[in-house]
């Protein structure tokens, strides 16, 4: 075993030393140091790894440098590069970085270089509030929003006119209670609670259409706008489906374990109540099938493509937003195809063919057919292109999960309640 040429400096307490934000072009556009200033030249190691990885997605998340570790995530075309000097759980750092990205998204509507630059002072205030000396302090959006108000067009106008500030004058109430995710004194004229059950199918189908692997990643997103301190209970018709779940901290785990109901005092506004994972193959329905034939000829620098999509297990619902994406081998120069439905586009630079079908009509199956022309003289490509399917089915949770009822305790008013279901394709891949 080679001796590590790197040791971390003994430097108590500092978890995350510094943060650098780097855009896709390699420009470092923001730096924040929680302890002493670390020269941005430390990022050279990152740039080196970035170059080696070719694709931005392939940059390794943990990079070793002689005196530090760089732990980075890639979100919304921005690299969040953190500098670590002590032995810190890397997941801790990565989770935190994702939280930073989510907070930016939450505050500025999108997490991009321009929004960050436009709100650089708020960004700095947020980073300082989220991490004390490299130590997570307040990462709950409810608390942060009371400490630092998010910018709105109206408020920034008002601020410029009146000179008032975007900094909360008082201590956020959530900090004091044992339910830090909810502020006190919430008041709405319309009390409403909506739940979205969103399921994504991750699947790999082989050439013949057989399922190699399939699972469902489900989440229940909530939008709860209820006055006071409501205590909610959500129950399912078929809770047995759920054996692998992760909950928002507000959920009382004990009740789930004993009664299989979700009991919680909700945060105010939008939040993800739970996520779940269903891997039992027999429970994962595959809504569409794909018949495809992509072949390249030995001579003549050309090939053929023929793809048909049809419904499989749709539970009587309509498949919408159907998109087929094909990653072509590098030698494919152009595609001359004919689509019976929807439109197709082949990008010769990224070598990606996108066929946007739209709604799937079971009576008239969509088909895409035609020829591919290859770089002349190039050998027949070895690798098989892979197909990616995107789709959406409204009013269906493909696992069959159904919410039974939602009850509210602790408050007198009658809230308006609603549940919506939607199924999407996640990483849905067809091999050829």
């Amino acid at each position: 075993m080679p001796v590590l040429d790197i040791t971390l400096k003994d430097n108590a307490l500092i978890m995350i030393h510094s943060l650098f934000l780097i855009n896709n072009a390699g420009d470092l556009f923001l730096e924040k140091h929680w302890k002493s200033v670390i020269s941005r030249s430390v990022c050279d190691y990152f740039f080196e790894a970035r170059e080696k990885a070719v694709e931005p997605d392939n940059v390794p998340p943990v990079i070793r440098t002689p005196h530090h570790y760089l732990i980075n995530i890639y979100r919304e075309k921005i690299f969040f590069v953190s500098v670590i000097q002590t032995e810190v759980p890397p997941l801790f750092v990565i989770e935190f970085l994702h939280r930073v990205a989510e907070t930016f998204q939450d505050y500025f509507g999108e997490c991009s270089e321009s929004t960050i630059k436009d709100n650089v002072v708020i960004v700095y205030e947020l980073l300082e509030e989220m991490l004390d000396n490299g130590f997570p302090l307040a990462t709950e959006s409810n608390i942060l929003k009371e400490l630092i108000r998010p910018p709105t067009i109206l408020r920034s106008m008002v601020n410029t006119i009146t000179g008032s500030s975007n900094v909360g004058e008082t201590l956020p109430t959530g900090q004091l209670s044992t339910i830090p995710w909810r502020r006190a004194g919430v008041k709405y004229t319309n009390n409403e609670a909506y739940f979205d059950v969103v399921e994504e199918i991750d699947a790999i189908l082989d050439k013949s259409g057989t399922t190699v692997f399939a699972e469902i990643q489900g989440v229940i997103d909530a939008c709860v706008k209820l006055s006071g301190m409501p205590d909610l209970t959500l129950s399912f018709m078929n809770p047995r489906l759920l054996d692998d779940v992760s909950f928002h901290p507000c959920v009382r785990y004990k009740r789930w374990e004993s009664e299989r109901v979700i009991s919680f005092v909700p945060p105010d506004g939008n939040f993800q109540l739970m996520s779940y994972h269903i891997s039992a193959q027999n429970l994962v329905a595959i809504p569409v099938y794909v018949k495809q034939n992509i072949s390249f000829f030995e001579t003549g620098s050309s090939g053929r493509l023929d793809i048909t999509v049809g419904p499989k297990q749709t539970m009587g619902k309509t498949v919408e937003g159907l998109v087929v994406t094909v990653h072509m081998p590098k030698v494919v120069l152009s595609a001359n195809l004919n689509a019976t439905q929807g439109t197709y586009n082949y990008d010769p630079v990224t070598k990606i063919l996108v066929w946007d079908i739209g709604k799937l009509n079971p009576q008239k199956l969509p088909n895409l057919k035609g020829s591919l022309s290859l770089q002349s003289g190039a050998p027949k490509p070895e690798e098989n292109p892979s197909l990616n399917i995107d789709l959406k089915i409204q009013q269906l949770a493909i696992s069959g999960l159904k919410v039974n009822r939602l009850d509210m305790y602790g408050e007198k008013y009658k809230p308006f309640k609603g549940v919506k279901y939607v199924t999407k394709a996640g990483k849905f891949q067809v091999r050829t």
């Binding site: 400096k9 032995e87 759980p89 709100n119 410029t160 004058e169 004091l176 082989d206 190699v212």
Partner: protein, 946 residues
């Protein structure tokens, strides 16, 4: 308008301009200026020159402006500490502010200023803030204690902040508790011996309660802290596990992984037959699988850890193979990790699926991934024997694709398959040979050449093939050159007639035209071998090769255990011990898994510094000077902890005092100094402690008496428990422990051989160096079956006393060499002299009397055995079991006197008198016939008494 306007002032004199604005009378202008300063900071501009001006803006009642100034201060306080002192008064004032936000902000910022001078100002405000009525302030202050400790640890201790911090663990607010725990564990980690986080069942209970209520980040700290606790028993371990398992359903993956760490560690303590153990195993799988649906960066860290978990407990994820199937849009770093885990989980049950997947991957675009997939197919073949045939045919299919790097990888792994299953798949060689020309990577070329050489007799044109490589010999890499040399020599030995010229050619290329010493040496060796004894050459070069082992890339078990204790850390990502990451004062404590309750499963391994003397290497010989010192300092009081180290010194020291050779001894002057007597008196006490590891000497002796069996029953001689003679780390994984016994007149060496290496050990043999009593193995070491990894085998080796004699120091020292297929190892051990007491050692009474009188006084030695409550008859019986015979007994003034004789294997007689004083249970042995033996006898006799 957005903040981007603050970036526009890039013209000359910017700092000057800002300075003016900061000193403006208008509050708005000031605020804008500070914002501009902060905007400059975000892009890495040095605006520290503005420090005094920004600090001047601090005294304001505008909260936003104040926060901005604090933002600036926190960034520069560390690099400009002297200037930061200017702000101290404001800090102190702000610590008294009515608004808890400002109090917290002030104490927080002060903690960031790393100057000794400021710390004295910090103490009072910090003390107040630690007891603040507002939990927000308290939790900020808790972190501040750790910051201050980093600057001035002594001050923190003197001021009693540590106690306050410990009190905060019982705070009513869970977030305060979490921060206090985090701060304490940080401080504790930088001072490993401080015992700050005194983890006892009460504090653990508090932590577990706080775990349910605090923030996700706090939960991580608490879980990591719990992981360092060692539960008292399996019941406590289970109850902690029960309270930690709900964390597995947390949305934060770092919490989940920390919980997995605690469970993996504490699980070790649970008996495997416990129902709960099975439940826990089942509960661990889903959260690990869920981690794989998170963002790719999280997946990567999770996969690195799962790799460890799978090696430790494959049963957890054995049914989850499919979640590790690679998706084509996974980042490459995730793909490679998944592949690795797939191989680890591969078994006969799922091999078909795995192979189908691997074949799929081998046609992907990414070259690195494809290569690894091809290699993985080879690893499957080696791991799952039933699949070997399918793997080989899959590899052949891949070779048919003619994709260059696929072919090369396939050939490299096929070579390994040949090494695992010789004479099974050689039919494919023809196909391999077709691809000879396309190989351009050294590893693949070397593999191909190896195959041609190894199977030269089956390849008709082997000579032509090898000759074709020879043309560009000097352009090849060393790896290929060495392989080519060996292959041609093999070919020559198999088909000597046609290939003489070829072998001449390669030998001269290797020896005369090469600058590479390895190549030259190997060339010369072959040359010499071939020219002197072709038959021997054949035996050497064409010898049967050991099969390669199944899993070559497993992490070494002790490292694996340590890494399991560090799940979720950088160490677990790099699979390197944590000590490789941290330098300086923060001592790294090697963490180990706790031992399982109620089972004999040993978690010991050679590098554990167990405190018991049995673990100490047997042949430690301290320097002479210290020895004498030790001797003189030893009085008759029972030696306690120092005993084991003193024991060898006794022998050395005593021997030295007595002087050397056999002949000079009888008439030799032994000095008879009082110190020697004292030393000898202590010796028997030392011995049992070192042998039995009994803490109290008296108790040890008492035990020894018990060991001897029932009263009045003459039994076999005392056999000391086995001690470790050869440490696995010093012997490439072979650990030897052993002891000596005399059974039915035959001396036996009882050995336990343990294989702590990864590969099978065979061909054991043993030899002794010449020694004082001519001990030698009476037969070969009988280890019939190969010793597989983790196996222990017990062997009894009969010894004779007819070997060559050479006086050793100490007298009873024995130097041993053990050989196996790996290497030869040496160790030394000491045998009890009682081993040499022969059965016919009972001297005639008359002879005894006559001899007794003849013994010169100088040859006498006395020593005492303390705290033995036996009467003379019992003692006499016990001693007889060890061939120490009582010739006569008399009672004088209430004391029993026993007269005893002993005969050694070499015919030397030893006579002894034993005085047993009733009520004062002291034994005094005296009058040894042969002083040079005396020392050893006296030391070795105490156990014999039993």
């Amino acid at each position: 308008m957005t903040d981007s306007k603050y970036f526009t002032t890039t013209k000359k004199g910017e700092i000057f301009e800002l300075k003016a604005e900061l000193n403006s009378d208008k509050k708005e202008k000031k605020k804008e200026a500070v914002k501009k300063v902060i905007a400059s900071m975000t892009v890495g501009k040095d605006v520290s020159a503005l420090f005094p001006d920004v600090v001047n803006c601090m005294q304001t009642d505008n909260l936003e402006l104040k926060k901005l100034v604090y933002l600036y201060l926190m960034n520069y306080a560390k690099s400009q500490p002297d200037m930061a002192i200017m702000a101290v008064n404001t800090f102190v004032k702000d610590c008294e502010d009515l608004n808890p936000l400002i109090r917290a902000l002030a104490v927080r910022t002060m903690g960031c200023i790393r100057v000794d001078k400021i710390t004295e100002y910090l103490c009072e405000p910090l003390r107040k803030c630690l007891k603040d009525e507002d939990p927000y302030v308290r939790k900020t202050a808790a972190v501040c204690v750790a910051k201050l400790h980093d600057i001035n640890a002594q001050l923190v201790e003197d001021q009693g902040f540590l106690d306050t911090l410990k009190d905060l663990i019982s705070d009513s607010n869970p977030m305060v508790v979490a921060n206090a725990v985090a701060a304490l564990s940080e401080i504790a980690e930088s001072h490993p011996n401080s015992n700050l986080l005194d983890l006892n069942p009460q504090t653990i209970n508090k932590l577990l309660t706080a775990l349910n209520e605090c923030t996700e980040w706090g939960q991580i700290f608490i879980l990591d802290c719990l992981a360092s606790y060692l539960p008292r028993d399996d019941r406590e371990s289970q109850s902690i596990c029960e309270r930690v398992t709900p964390r597995l359903s947390h949305a934060n993956s770092a919490v989940v992984l920390s919980a997995v760490k605690v469970l993996m560690k504490f699980m070790e303590m649970l008996p495997k037959d416990l129902d709960y153990y099975g439940t826990l195993l089942k509960k661990l799988a889903p959260p690990l699988v869920t981690l794989l649906s998170a963002e790719p960066e999280l997946q990567y860290v999770a996969l690195r850890n799962i790799n460890l978990i799978v090696q430790k407990r494959p049963e957890i994820l054995k049914h989850e193979m499919k979640v590790f199937f690679v998706k084509y849009n996974d980042p490459i770093y995730v793909k490679l990790e998944k592949l690795d885990i797939m191989i680890r989980l591969a078994s006969q049950a799922n091999i078909a699926q795995v192979l189908a997947e691997l074949k799929e991957y081998a046609t992907e675009v990414d070259v690195d991934f494809v290569r690894k997939a091809v290699r993985a197919i080879g690893r499957c073949a080696i791991k799952v024997e039933q699949s070997a045939e399918r793997c080989v045919s899959t590899l052949l299919d891949l070779i048919q694709t003619k994709v260059n790097y696929v072919v090369q990888e396939a050939i490299v792994v096929i070579k390994d398959i040949f090494r695992k299953y010789p004479n099974k798949y050689e039919s494919v060689i023809a196909t391999l040979c077709e691809n000879l020309d396309s190989l351009d990577e050294p590893e693949a070329r070397a593999a191909m050449i190896w195959i041609v050489g190894e199977y030269a007799e089956r390849i008709d044109n082997a000579d032509e093939l090898l000759e074709s490589f020879l043309e560009g010999f000097h352009d090849e890499s060393t790896q290929v050159q060495l392989q080519l040399l060996t292959a041609i020599v093999k070919l020559f030995l198999k088909k000597p007639t046609e290939t003489q010229e070829l072998v001449q050619q390669v030998l001269s290329l290797a020896t005369q035209d090469s600058d590479n010493p390895d190549l030259r040496d190997r060339g010369y060796i072959y040359w010499r071998l071939l020219s002197t004894d072709p038959v021997a050459a054949k035996e050497v070069v064409l010898a049967e090769k050991p099969l390669i082992s199944e899993e070559t890339d497993l992490i070494e078990p002790t490292l694996l255990e340590e890494l399991i204790c560090h799940i979720g850390t950088l160490a677990s990502v790099y699979h390197k011990p944590p000590s490789a990451f941290v330098e300086g004062s923060r001592g790294v404590q090697h963490k180990r898994l706790p031992p399982r309750a109620g089972s004999g499963e040993s978690t010991e391994s050679p590098d554990v510094g167990q405190s018991g003397p049995s673990e100490a290497p047997p042949a430690v010989i301290p320097s002479q000077g210290d020895l004498l010192g030790d001797l003189l300092n030893l009085d008759l009081a029972p030696p306690t902890a120092t005993v084991p180290s003193v024991q060898p010194s006794m022998q050395m020291g005593a021997m030295d005092l007595l002087g050397g050779g056999l002949d000079s001894l009888l008439g030799g002057d032994i000095g008879g100094s009082p110190s020697m007597g004292a030393g000898l008196g202590a010796a028997p006490a030392a011995m049992p402690a070192s042998l039995g590891g009994a803490p109290a000497v008296g108790g040890g002796l008492g035990d020894l008496f018990d060991l001897g069996g029932g009263v009045g029953m003459p039994t076999g001689s005392y056999v000391a428990p086995k001690t470790v003679w050869l440490l696995a780390m010093k012997a490439k994984g072979l650990e030897i422990s052993g002891t000596f016994a005399r059974r039915g007149g035959i001396i036996q060496m009882d050995l336990s051989l343990t294989n702590k290496a990864m590969s099978v050990m065979t061909d054991f043999a043993i030899q002794f160096n010449r020694n004082s009593f001519g001990l030698a193995p009476a037969g070969p070491l009988q280890v019939l079956t190969p010793l597989s990894p983790n196996q222990t085998i017990d062997v009894s080796l009969p010894l004779s006393t007819s070997g060559p004699v050479m006086k050793m120091e100490p007298l009873n020292n024995l130097q041993v060499a053990v050989k196996n297929n790996i290497d030869v190892f040496y160790f030394s051990c000491q045998y009890p002299l009682s081993l040499l007491f022969v059965e016919d050692g009972k001297m005639d009474r008359q002879v005894f009397l006559a001899t007794w009188k003849d013994i010169p006084n100088d040859n006498e030695a006395q020593f005492q055995i303390k705290d033995i409550h036996l009467n003379s008859d019992v003692a006499s019986n016990k001693l007889q079991g060890s061939n120490i015979f009582t010739i006569a007994k008399r009672t004088v003034e209430g004391q029993d006197m026993l007269y005893q004789s002993v005969k050694l294997t070499n015919g030397i007689w030893v006579l002894a008198e034993m005085r047993i004083q009733t009520g004062n249970p002291n034994y005094t042995w005296m009058c040894w016939r042969r002083p040079h033996v005396r020392e050893c006898v006296s030391q070795n006799d105490s156990p014999v008494i039993s």
